[in-house]
Symmetry: C2
Subunit: 204 residues, 2 copies
């Protein structure tokens, strides 16, 4: 599996949860593809890799698909994640409703600024020098980097030394996967470029 | 062109800018694909759609590719964008370095909270009721929604009525494209799900 196909599974799952809430119980690959912005063939291919099959007459049963995707995407247990950087972005991510709803819990936030430390908060903000200890004590595998670009490399190195295995990077620096760490770089400007392309193309 | 292929162009451009800074001047589709996480065939297919061709012996000239992508992605002029919501996320986006670097300028931020208004700031924060007037006066086409989920639908409707043509939605609500507006929904949890999948799969 590559990263893009796993992202498509996340997208299918979100569409299915919505349809399920609306009371639908079956779906065809063409409808699911349309909702998720891919072709029906892509949907069938992605599902067949995981041994999920529908039938031509009835399509897929939505509840079964969600259960299967929950297994694949590890949604049955809560995953604890830490954030480095308690600035605006870190604080926004700390309270992002999409995480909790999808079994992701922010366990703590770390910062070098002593004025931001808040040990007793619901989600504690702790000094960066405690991050290694925290990761070891709580078995944390995944960290979010939400610091200024200039600090990104240093934080990346600290996290890698502390044994983190997955990093979501919100700086505009680019980090690559290595033997120990899987990295997803989030480039928010791509989403805007996309809109600019499509709005410029459309006749006014 | 669909949204995903335009996103790939953004990604190619970012890789090419980095390689250009490092002093490279030519690239083959397999290297570019590897850096961008897609196959060489995908790179060639995406480029051929836009009439970009390399040659088998020498590959593509990086500077030419960047110039062509700058044209396609409208990078030669600054695009002005507004943000609705001056909370943590709105403030983080207001200062996101990836925007300015990619010819995107945040012109103003809008909020309903009178204590957040700041007309004289570098990027002014204005009352939401002025958004329609501002959009018309400044010819704004694109808006970012960074408000709590509960306010998302109302803000979407206000923006659409004001003639906005592209919306980047950071709430966890899902909006669909319609005849007048192109929407990109950003689901930050997908990026984490992705990491969870790949870190769980890797042997400890």
């Amino acid at each position: 599996m590559n990263k893009k196909s796993v992202s498509r599974l996340s997208h299918y799952r979100k569409v299915l949860l919505r349809l399920n809430e609306l009371g639908f119980d079956r779906i065809f690959s063409d409808t699911l593809g349309e909702e998720a912005g891919v072709t029906a063939a892509q949907v069938r291919k992605d599902f067949s890799i995981f041994g999920i099959s529908g039938n031509k007459r009835g399509g897929y049963i939505i509840a079964d698909l969600i259960a299967r995707l929950d297994d694949i995407l590890k949604k049955r247990t809560v995953t604890r994640v830490i954030i480095v950087g308690a600035g605006n972005l870190g604080k926004a991510l700390m309270h992002y409703p999409g995480f909790r709803r999808d079994s992701i819990e922010i366990s703590a936030v770390f910062d070098i600024d002593p004025t931001k430390i808040s040990r007793k908060a619901d989600v504690p903000v702790l000094p960066l020098e405690e991050v290694g200890e925290f990761i070891a004590a709580h078995g944390i595998d995944i960290a979010i980097i939400a610091v200024p670009d200039v600090a990104a490399q240093r934080v990346f190195d600290i996290l890698q030394r502390a044994g983190i295995r997955g990093i979501l990077n919100f700086t505009t620096m680019t980090f690559k996967d290595n033997e120990d760490v899987v990295v997803n770089n989030v480039y928010l400007q791509f989403e805007l470029e996309n809109l600019i392309y499509f709005t410029a193309e459309k006749p006014a």
